[in-house]
């Protein structure tokens, strides 16, 4: 059996094949366990790259609900320990002050989070981006970053190639040789 090439399987995994090649690869993959595993591996690697260094998601709504619940609990607890009826008692005492401060903080946080901010310009979102920084070359995909090249030398010259590559040239301190590393966006 002739297997499709790795690049065909990778394009198939990313749903980037034309309809005929997709149909032909689909037929092969349906019958070939080895290629099925490869396709799955390409798909999961792509997802994994996006999830590397991912910041944990913060459930703001849940956090706000918990803050409100805690405020209510504090007020309820105050009611429980109160010995006698006191008009406007909820307005006095440290607990009430804390509750008010919490509400203000909650409202301020909500406003801050909801405030519309101008979106920074983006290039080809979703596609891989190579970036040269003072410390080396990074690969960014789906907003997540992975350092590909850390250059130990301080005197590095970077050069971007419009065909989708980034080059770093430096003198290797161990060998004394000029070394040029090239990484490719695809």
């Amino acid at each position: 059996m002739t297997h499709p090439s790795q690049s065909t399987l990778a394009l198939y995994a990313g749903q980037d094949l034309g309809w005929f090649a997709r149909w032909r690869t689909q037929r092969h993959v349906a019958e070939c366990r080895e290629c099925r595993i490869e396709v799955r591996a390409f798909g999961s690697a792509s997802e994994e790259l996006a999830s590397l260094n991912e910041l944990p998601a913060i459930a703001w709504n849940r956090m706000a609900a918990e803050m409100k619940a805690n405020i209510r609990l504090g007020l309820a607890a105050g009611e429980c320990v109160r010995t006698g009826p006191a008009p406007f008692a909820w307005l006095s005492g440290a607990r009430a002050l804390t509750a008010c401060a919490s509400i203000i903080a909650l409202v301020a946080t909500g406003l801050l989070l909801q405030r519309p901010a101008p979106a920074p310009p983006q290039i080809a979102t979703g596609s891989a981006v190579l970036r040269a920084t003072a410390n080396g070359i990074e690969l960014n995909q789906g907003g997540q970053t992975l350092s590909l090249l850390h250059v130990p030398s301080g005197n590095v010259s970077y050069s971007a190639g419009a065909q989708g590559s980034m080059r770093a040239g430096y003198v290797d301190s161990d060998t004394g040789n000029v070394t040029i590393d090239n990484v490719y966006v695809q």
Partner: protein, 375 residues
């Protein structure tokens, strides 16, 4: 309670570290049987592999010792380093230009890279290191040349000869003191050269990148001895992003050209010029016959920042930085032309100039003069 947390933390760190493993037998160095280079040793140093979910991150810290078993002096080597070649982050190359390795001599090559590959790929080594090319003193070449390393290394060697000749002429005319002065001027240029944070991506722009986009014309610098001349060019600009450069070039020579590289300079609203990148044109579709006109174009985007802020692109300048003829000969601009166009302070120094500067920094002008006199 705090002691329990500490135990949990230590256990967590240990579990994470347990995923890091040395790369031991997972790096394969492939040199063809008829290769002019032979492998003497491969030290994997602190190379390690770590599993991140269904992906594998490979940190390479490899020290190779190669032997020149050919009768020629080796001037450059390029290695293709691949964990897998299709998805981003899976492939890289390491080139060592400006070498001068005599026959039967050993020399080191370092590989310091990080690669990525799917964890569930088939068996075999995790990383393959293949020889892409070797350039010799007489500009002959050995290797499969998959990365077009023949042209790159030929151009670097020509730059090396050009820059050595320049510094040797200073040494001859003004002695070691003059050479020292020239090195200090070069160091100053490197220190003062404006540096940009450049991002490269392929494919069409989406979202807000297209907002405010307009087509802008290139201005061109013309070198008197260039075999190819730019005649017109445009790119789409939006803020600090430039996309889809397309440049028409005319072949002024009587020979067929198979590769042209246009160097791309941008200037900001304050008039400061920065080297943004290079726009290459090659491949079977690029065929520039003698006297003909062809188009250099790339479906790519460059995004430029400086000191964390965007660089607003006010203008673009291009010039021919490299030409390869059909017979494999390469043209590069001469040093005088670069100086006249005030480009020396903008362009990166050649690999050879970097090497000579490093030698001067570490060993002084006398050692540099001795090195120049070897050639």
């Amino acid at each position: 309670m705090s002691s329990k947390l500490a135990i949990l933390f230590v256990a967590g760190v240990a579990a994470l570290n347990a995923q890091d493993m040395p790369l031991d037998n997972s790096v394969k160095i492939n040199l063809p049987p008829d290769s002019p280079l032979t492998l003497i040793s491969a030290n994997l140093g602190e190379s390690h592999v770590s599993r991140r979910g269904s992906a594998v991150v490979l940190d390479l810290d490899v020290a190779l010792t190669l032997h020149n078993s050919s009768p020629n002096r080796v001037r450059g080597v390029t290695l293709l380093v691949a964990a897998q070649e299709v998805t981003p982050g899976g492939k890289a190359s390491v080139s060592v230009p400006s070498l001068d390795v005599a026959p039967n001599q050993n020399f080191p090559v370092r590989i310091n890279l990080r690669l990525l590959r799917p964890a569930q790929m088939g068996g075999g080594p995790l990383v393959q290191v293949n020889l892409d090319g070797v350039l010799f003193q007489d500009f002959s070449f050995y290797g499969p040349n998959r990365l077009d390393s023949r042209r790159s290394m030929t151009a670097w060697e020509m730059e090396a000869q050009r820059d050595r000749k320049y510094f040797k002429s200073i040494l001859a005319a003004r002695g070691v003191e003059g050479l020292k002065q020239a090195m200090l001027e070069s160091l100053n240029r490197q220190t003062e050269r404006p540096r940009l944070d450049v991002q490269v991506s392929r494919g069409p722009a989406v979202g807000s990148a297209a907002v405010g986009e307009h087509s802008a014309k290139f201005a061109f610098l013309h070198f008197p001895d260039a075999p190819v001349d730019p005649v017109g060019g445009w790119a789409e600009i939006a803020g600090n992003e430039a996309r889809n450069p397309r440049i028409d070039v005319r072949n002024l020579s009587s020979r067929q050209v198979r590769y042209v590289e246009i160097d791309w300079i941008v200037n900001d609203r304050q008039g400061q010029r920065f080297m943004a990148g290079s726009v290459p044109a090659s491949g079977p579709e690029f065929n520039l016959k003698a006297g003909g006109i062809s188009r250099v174009l790339q479906d790519t985007a460059l995004k430029l920042s400086k000191d964390g802020g965007p660089v607003s692109i006010a203008g673009m300048t291009g010039f021919v930085g490299q030409v390869e003829f059909a017979d494999g000969k390469v043209w590069i601009p001469n040093r005088e032309a670069l100086a006249n166009a005030q480009l020396l302070g903008i362009l990166e120094p050649s690999p050879e100039e970097q090497r000579l500067l490093d030698l001067y920094r570490k060993k002084g002008p006398k050692a540099l003069a001795d090195e120049l006199n070897k050639f």
